[in-house]
Symmetry: C2
Subunit: 211 residues, 2 copies
DNA sequence: ACCTGAACACCGTTCAAGT
DNA sequence: ACCTGAACACCGTTCAAGT
C-alpha cells in the first residue's frame, strides 16, 4: 500500500485551503481525503484539531499584512480591520481558537505590532493605543462572528434574508414598536460590510485623541 | 414505566438554566437527564436543537430589559450593551443561532426597540439610529464571542492567562516589535469587561451626533 | 519512523415499538 | 397522544498492528 509521506507544512497548507472553501464545516475526515491519506495520520504531525486551526489562523493573519499601501494612520488601520474581518468571516471558529492561546504566532504578532504603531502615529500613548487596539479587534473579529452565518449564504439568498428581516420590522405594530417601524427600511440595509464600515468609522472617530 | 409529561415551556426553562450553567457544553443528552426524560422526547416539542437555542436566546434577551433604571440615553444604552454582552458571554453559540433567523421574537424585538428609541432621544434620525444600532450590537455581541473562551475559565486561571499574554508581549524583541513591547503592560490589562467598557465609550463618542 | 484501520466516546436526530 | 429505546450518521481521537 502506498503510504503517503506527510509533513506539517503540507498539512497546514491543505487545511488553510479547506477552511477557505468550506469554512465552519472543516473536518479532519475531509482533510484526510484531500491529502490522500488516512485522517488519523494527521495526528502524527499535529497535536489536535485546535492546534491545526491555530496554525491556519496564523497563516491567515500573516496574509493580511501583504501589499499594504502607504497612507495615513486611519486609512491603514481601516484596511487592516476590514481584512481582519474578512479573514474571520470565512471561519469564525478560528477566532475562538486563536483567542484561547497566548499570542505567540508571527502572523498575529505582526498585525498587532502594525496596528499599535499606527495608533502611536495617531498620537495615542502606549496605554491608550493598547486599549484602542483591543477595541478595534473586538469590533472587527466580533462583527465577523456575528455575520458569518449569513455571509455563508449565496449572495441572492443573503439579500433575500436581509430583505425578509427588514420586512419583519416594517410589519410590526407601530404603536408598540414606533422606533423599529420608523427605522425598518434602514435596518439590515446594504451589505454587512457597509454596516461594519460605518461602525468602524464611528469607533475611529471616538478613538481619535482630542487635539 | 412512568412516562414523564413534558411541555415546551418546561423544556425551554430547563434549557435556559442548563445553558446558564454549562454554556457552550449544552447537550440534549444532559437536558434530557435534567428533565428526567429520554433525550429524544424533546423532539416532540421542539423541531431541533437550534430552535431550542433560539427560544433560550429570546428568554435571555427579554431578561435584559427588566429593572432598567431611568437615565439619559447614553447611560441606558451603556447598561443594555453591557447586559447584552454578559448574556452572550455565557453562550456565544447563541449569537450565531439567533442571528441566522429573522428577528421575530419578543425579547429581541423589545431590546431593539429600546435601543433605537434611546438613539432617537440622542438626536439621531431613524437612518443613523439604525446604523448606530448595528454598530452597538456588533461590538457587544462580537466582543462576547471573542472573550467567551477565556471568560469560561475560573477567575484565578483567567488572570493567569492574561498575565502570561502580557508577558509574551513584554518578552518580544524591542527592535522588531517596538510598539508591542512599549504597550505590553497595557495589553490585556484589567478585565475583559474593562476593555469592553472602553471600546463602548469610544464608539458612543463617535456616534454622538455633531451638535 | 510513519501510516493504516479498527475501535471508542460523544452527539444530534430518526423511527418503529410501546403505553 | 406522547414517551422509550434501538439505531444511525458524523466527528474527534486513541492505539495496536502493519511496513
Amino acid at each position: 500500500v502506498g503510504a503517503k509521506r506527510l509533513d506539517r507544512e503540507q498539512i497546514v497548507d491543505a487545511a488553510t485551503e479547506l477552511v477557505a472553501s468550506v469554512g465552519e464545516r472543516f473536518t479532519l475526515a475531509e482533510l484526510g481525503r484531500r491529502l490522500g491519506a488516512d485522517p488519523t495520520a494527521i495526528y502524527r504531525h499535529v497535536r489536535d484539531k485546535s492546534e491545526l486551526l491555530r496554525a491556519v489562523g496564523d497563516r491567515l493573519h500573516a496574509e493580511l499584512m501583504v501589499g499594504l499601501p502607504r497612507g495615513d494612520w486611519r486609512s491603514i488601520v481601516t484596511i487592516l480591520c476590514h481584512r481582519l474581518r474578512n479573514a474571520h468571516l470565512v471561519a469564525p471558529s478560528l477566532a475562538a481558537t486563536v483567542r484561547s492561546e497566548p499570542p505567540r504566532q508571527p502572523g498575529e504578532l505582526a498585525l498587532t505590532e502594525r496596528l499599535l504603531s499606527e495608533l502611536g502615529r495617531a498620537g495615542l500613548d502606549p496605554h491608550d493605543a493598547a486599549r484602542a487596539y483591543h477595541a478595534l479587534i473586538e469590533l472587527a473579529v466580533g462583527s465577523a462572528a456575528l455575520d458569518a452565518s449569513v455571509a455563508a449564504l449565496a449572495p441572492e439568498e443573503r439579500e433575500r434574508t436581509y430583505a425578509s428581516w427588514r420586512r419583519a420590522y416594517a410589519n410590526l405594530d407601530p404603536a408598540q414598536y414606533p422606533a423599529s417601524t420608523a427605522a425598518a427600511a434602514a435596518l439590515y440595509a446594504g451589505t454587512a460590510d457597509d454596516r461594519f464600515a460605518y461602525a468602524l468609522d464611528r469607533l475611529l472617530d471616538g478613538i481619535r485623541p482630542a487635539v
